[in-house]
């Protein structure tokens, strides 16, 4: 059987050259055995157009750099095999993030800002004693925290979220998931009212309209609906107690 001919329709735009309107450009390449979109995009860049911009680092769905819209579905290009796709493949950059050009977006600035606003660090006044025995965490709890911690910050959940696309300050599923991680962690001494200040508003959990595009999208399968519901319930109780 001869290999398939793949036709890529790739979004092209260079913010430094606004006179060239955003458009899609078509590239044809031959499919190879076990080809991922990572391989295909590199082939296009090497053999057809060296100006094509896209992001990759790890190629193993760990770094979260290569999130993009693949035929409309947000996922990681490195873990998407071309054989799972039709021969016509449309690639768009992730929405909601700053567009650097073509398929490349700046997720870093967004995540940095979200981390600062959700205060994503352990809040404690316990003095660290390097000679003391490390406190043991319950296995089940550790696993629960790990479930949220598996987020690779690819931004797919933010890209597909309609609220994140029209409300710049919404922290998205990844942000709320992040907060849930700290809520679970007994080392973080924040009380419910302190968490409420961080996430008990329309930029946080109450901004979510529940479309669950995030959960349907997450390439590493973080159970986002559960995490969102957990934070919503916590914050509803906190709001009830709030003076």
């Amino acid at each position: 059987m001869s290999p398939r001919q793949l036709t890529f329709h790739i979004f092209r735009y260079d913010p430094d050259r606004p006179e060239v309107k955003p458009h899609t450009q078509t590239f044809k390449i031959e499919e190879e055995m076990g080809m991922t979109l990572f391989v295909a995009l590199n082939k296009i860049r090497d053999e057809i157009d060296p100006t094509l911009k896209f992001d990759f680092v790890c190629r193993a769905s760990i770094c979260g750099s290569c999130g993009m819209l693949i035929n409309g579905k947000a996922s990681l290009a490195c873990k998407t095999l071309t054989k799972t796709l039709p021969s016509d493949i449309t690639l768009f950059p992730l929405p909601a993030f700053k567009l650097l050009g073509d398929l490349s977006v700046d997720t870093g600035t967004w995540f940095r800002d979200m981390s600062m606003r959700t205060e994503s660090w352990i809040h404690t006044d316990v003095e660290f004693d390097e000679t003391a025995q490390e406190e043991k965490m319950d296995d089940d709890l550790a696993l629960e925290i790990y479930e949220a911690e598996r987020c690779i910050e690819c931004g797919c959940c933010v890209g597909v979220c309609v609220t994140a696309n029209i409300r710049q300050n919404f922290i998205g599923a990844t942000g709320i998931n992040r907060v849930s991680r700290f809520m679970l962690d007994p080392r973080d001494k924040r009380d419910e009212q302190e968490y409420f200040e961080v996430v008990g508003n329309d930029d946080g959990i109450f901004g979510c309209v529940g479309l669950m595009a995030c959960e349907d999208t997450c390439p590493v399968g973080v159970p986002l609906r559960g995490q969102l519901a957990y934070v919503r319930r916590k914050m509803t109780v906190a709001g009830w107690h709030r003076k």
Partner: protein
């Protein structure tokens, strides 16, 4: 910290508005379903419908319901407005986005906005008509015999059942506990059932024969 944030005593408002949105929505669904069951009394017979109407008259339930529903509408719209793509540019983003990601729930949210606005307009017309004419078999029959009114009520029935069902689904999705597939199934069945009951009620009015102007 920003000046206005520092000077705003509490940010509890978003939380309260979110609760208002949910509670008003739930009450409106409760009202809608009760309403449809009451209307369905015509299926048993014109006399049952008449008895129910008399009962409502006796306790002044119609004006109470009208005021309560208008109040709940206002609360629901006021609360939900903050989520809506209100600016034209936001509308364009939302629709293009739904088209781009081809995600069912995102589409259903846009339909929620469309049906919500349509329901607001149509329900107000309906409330005005009922407030003017009261509840009686003859008055209802008169309207259903008019094709324009029949289409109006069919659309209002479909839109409100759809909106209620998707709204309930959204609430349950947000709070967790029940699987989305099971929710879809249960709410789908309930909604189809209520639409069928509503259609049968309309059909009963159409088939009803008035003798000398009374049922």
């Amino acid at each position: 910290m920003y000046l206005q944030r520092a000077m705003t005593r509490s940010i509890k408002t978003d939380y309260i508005v979110e609760l208002v949105q949910m509670v008003s929505g739930l009450l409106l669904v409760l009202f809608l379903w009760t309403h449809m069951v009451f209307v369905a009394s015509i299926i048993i017979g014109a006399s049952s419908f008449g008895a129910l109407a008399a009962f409502m008259d006796k306790y002044e339930l119609l004006p109470i319901a009208v005021v309560a529903v208008i109040f709940m509408f206002a609360a629901h719209i006021g609360a939900i407005a903050r989520h809506l793509p209100a600016r034209w540019a936001e509308q364009k983003v939302a629709w293009r986005h739904a088209k781009m990601i081809r995600h069912y729930d995102t589409w259903s949210w846009l339909f929620q906005i469309v049906t919500g606005l349509a329901i607001l307009l149509m329900a107000l017309i309906h409330i005005a008509v009922v407030s003017y004419g009261g509840i009686s078999v003859v008055f209802s029959k008169g309207r259903i015999d008019n094709p324009a009114f029949l289409v109006f009520y069919l659309i209002l029935l479909l839109f409100s059942e759809y909106h209620a069902s998707v709204g309930l689904y959204r609430i349950f999705v947000k709070w967790g506990f029940v699987s989305r597939r099971r929710l879809e199934f249960v709410l789908g069945v309930v909604s189809v059932l209520l639409v069928v009951i509503g259609c049968v009620s309309l059909g009963m009015f159409l088939a009803l024969k008035l003798v000398g102007g009374v049922a």
